[in-house]
């Protein structure tokens, strides 16, 4: 039996080796960490970049704060962030000899979404804030059905939450009964499957399975976001340590969004390219 086991093990190991016989990369992978909102852009860029140059990228979506952390520890080349660095983060960077440089890769609006069966189609900023701080608890008060509002928020650690909290709630705490979900996708899925739910997600995530509300009479769209008419919008960043040396893969990567191809990818994902 020992022999059989040994043989099986060897075979498995050989098979694994055979499967991974892809030639070792001449150039090292670009390591990217950070926000889940910027994640889809980074992933699509990585796919495109790999196709063009053969250099791959390792992407972890562990949140904006984790991105900074990795950048400071030297564990990543690019930190994706859906918010700007905080003072404390910036200071720590500098203390550790890291000079963070921000690259705005796209703009994103936070779409307020509800279940398609919901009658409510428009909210004002004040109403939105009231829903999220618990002053409005029933759809009836907004002209909808008589049903309690299921408030869904992003985790308090996400950049998306921080943007929403700052722009809509003016830093007031979210109502205690709110459900917290870990990502945009989850927020959307919860709303799509929950009749009385409301959530906010990045514009790229608001698809046909949910209904997007207008805020202060304006629906989020590339046009209304760039013009500043839509009130809940933010830039998305990639941070590097110093400005990357020209011609390096990292430089190519963080400037991809400026090229026509990069802008098209950003657009296809539902975000707004810079200088649209």
């Amino acid at each position: 039996m020992k022999k059989t086991i040994a043989t099986t093990m060897t075979l498995i190991a050989l098979a694994a080796a055979a499967f991974t016989s892809a030639p070792a990369m001449a150039e090292k992978n670009i390591v990217i960490d950070g926000s889940t909102t910027v994640g889809p852009i980074a992933k699509a860029f990585a796919d495109y970049y790999k196709e063009k140059t053969g250099i791959g990228a390792t992407i972890s979506e562990s949140g904006s704060g984790n991105g900074v952390k990795s950048l400071i520890n030297g564990a990543c080349d690019i930190a994706n962030m859906s918010r700007f660095m905080k003072d404390s983060e910036f200071k720590t960077c500098v203390k550790k000899g890291i000079l963070p440089v921000a690259h705005v890769v796209a703009f994103d609006g936070l779409a307020v979404v509800v279940n398609p069966a919901n009658k409510v189609g428009a909210l004002t900023m004040a109403q939105l804030a009231d829903i999220y701080t618990g002053k409005i608890r029933n759809w009836k008060e907004l002209g909808g059905d008589d049903a309690e509002i299921v408030v869904i928020s992003r985790d308090t650690n996400s950049g998306t939450y921080e943007t929403f909290n700052e722009l809509v709630l003016r830093k007031n705490p979210v109502v205690k009964g709110a459900e917290y979900v870990g990502s945009n996708g989850q927020a959307k899925t919860r709303v799509a499957s929950t009749k009385n739910a409301i959530a906010y997600v990045g514009l790229g995530f608001a698809d046909d399975s949910v209904k997007t509300l207008s805020v202060d009479g304006i629906l989020p769209s590339p046009k209304t976001i760039v013009s500043g008419k839509y009130p809940i919008a933010r830039p998305l960043f990639m941070f590097t340590n110093k400005y990357p040396k020209m011609g390096t893969p990292v430089y190519d990567f963080v400037t991809l969004h400026l090229s026509e191809e990069g802008r098209e990818i950003v657009r296809d994902l539902g975000y707004v390219p810079v200088a649209e």
Partner: protein, 392 residues
């Protein structure tokens, strides 16, 4: 290194049938070295525990230094650890959520698990038991993320759309038989209290009355529940049920061990005295195995408290103590889910208070785990699983 020691030892043993004093001493030294090495390797888990403890203690210390923080941690529900300038660390709701989910899952898993263990060890024959055992083990093998996925993708929508009906059906299915069965001893007991010498007709009448009363109570409960609208499928109930399934294998297999540790002679003695199997189980076997079953429950408890992915995906992660406090259909949040969800963003490098409070939570988890572990060890060392024989 381990192998070399062994080989050398082996070679020496082979070569030296007659040993001189020198080689004998060398051998003893080698033996000592070998033992020392073994001890060192064995100490790896200990070292890991010490490191983990030390590390988590060190990282949570800054939080505990501020006594006001600690009081807030245990008494307030205001959780806003990242608000700049005015952070709050009230974790009462999170602690309560952990407790709620744990108690909820134990309420499902303990009765089910113990009856299943009794069934496996006492009622069905060995062959069927051998077939069922792997099914129980299957539950233990399935990864937690798969359970979490199930809870989120299958169970939550089901609960949301047909929750009331589903649960009331469950109550009826489980409650009616139990009500029917328990009406029998109840009627017996009541009749012996009321009448000196109960006539059979009176007993039957009482039995019917008790049965009807209990059944209608169950039906009422089911009817009440069927009207409940569950606004969100990811809630304490969902997490509890799924966690119960995860804790079941632990409870079943350890309880079964405890039950089978009760000697044959006890069983046979009891049966020979004319007790039915039911009475044997309840009056003889269960009392004998109770400490082993307690260990099973404690270990199941531990599994539930430490579980991360399921609660993260299924509990809804809300920061509120449900209203009323026993409402299992509201979302709650647990310690593990908070750590998993928030650690990604807590500023470790800047050493913010939020980072430390998360470690304080880990410490709570660790301490409760250790306490439970210590308790179970205590019970085991008192001989919970030692073969119990009748006749002292």
């Amino acid at each position: 290194m381990n192998a070399t020691t062994a080989d050398t030892g082996g070679a020496r043993a082979k070569g030296a049938l007659i040993m001189d004093r020198h080689s004998c001493a060398a051998k003893m030294l080698l033996g000592r070295l070998g033992r020392g090495f073994l001890l060192c390797v064995t100490a790896v888990p200990t070292a890991a525990v010490v490191f983990i403890l030390f590390f988590i203690f060190k990282e949570s210390l800054p939080f505990f230094e501020n006594l006001g923080n600690v009081r807030e941690f245990f008494t307030s529900t205001n959780w806003a650890p990242s608000r700049e300038g005015d952070p709050h660390f009230g974790s009462l709701a999170i602690l309560y959520g952990t407790l709620m989910v744990t108690v909820g899952s134990c309420a499902v898993a303990v009765p089910l698990g113990i009856t299943a263990a009794i069934c496996l060890s006492e009622i069905v024959n060995a062959r069927i038991s051998r077939i069922f055992r792997p099914i129980v083990e299957l539950f233990a093998a399935i990864p937690s993320v798969a359970y979490g996925f199930f809870a989120m993708a299958v169970f939550a929508p089901l609960l949301q759309n047909h929750g009331g009906i589903m649960i009331s059906a469950l109550i009826l299915a489980a409650g009616l038989p139990i009500a029917g069965v328990s009406s029998i001893p109840l009627a017996e007991f009541a009749s012996s209290k009321i009448f000196k010498k109960p006539s059979p007709a009176a007993v039957v009448a009482l039995r019917i009355f008790a049965g009807a009363a209990l059944c209608s109570a169950v039906a009422y409960a089911a009817w009440r529940v069927s009207g409940v609208e569950i606004s969100s499928g990811t809630n304490a109930f969902n997490a509890s049920v799924i966690l119960a399934i995860m804790a079941l294998p632990t409870i079943v297999s350890i309880s079964q061990d405890a039950l089978s540790a009760v000697g044959r002679d006890m069983r046979e003695g009891s049966l020979a005295l004319g007790a039915t199997r039911f009475e044997t189980i309840f009056k003889v076997i269960l009392p004998c195995a109770k400490s082993g079953i307690a260990v099973a429950v404690i270990l199941g408890f531990m599994r539930v408290i430490g579980e991360t992915m399921v609660v993260w995906m299924a509990s809804g992660n809300s920061l509120k103590i449900p209203e009323p406090f026993y409402n299992f259909f509201e979302p709650v949040r647990t310690l593990t889910a908070t750590i998993a969800g928030e650690m990604g963003e807590a500023d470790q490098t800047t050493g913010s208070a939020r980072y430390h409070v998360l470690f304080a939570m880990s410490l709570c988890l660790l301490v409760s785990g250790m306490a439970l572990n210590w308790l179970s060890q205590r019970i085991i060392s008192r001989g919970a699983f030692a073969r119990k024989k009748g006749g002292k």
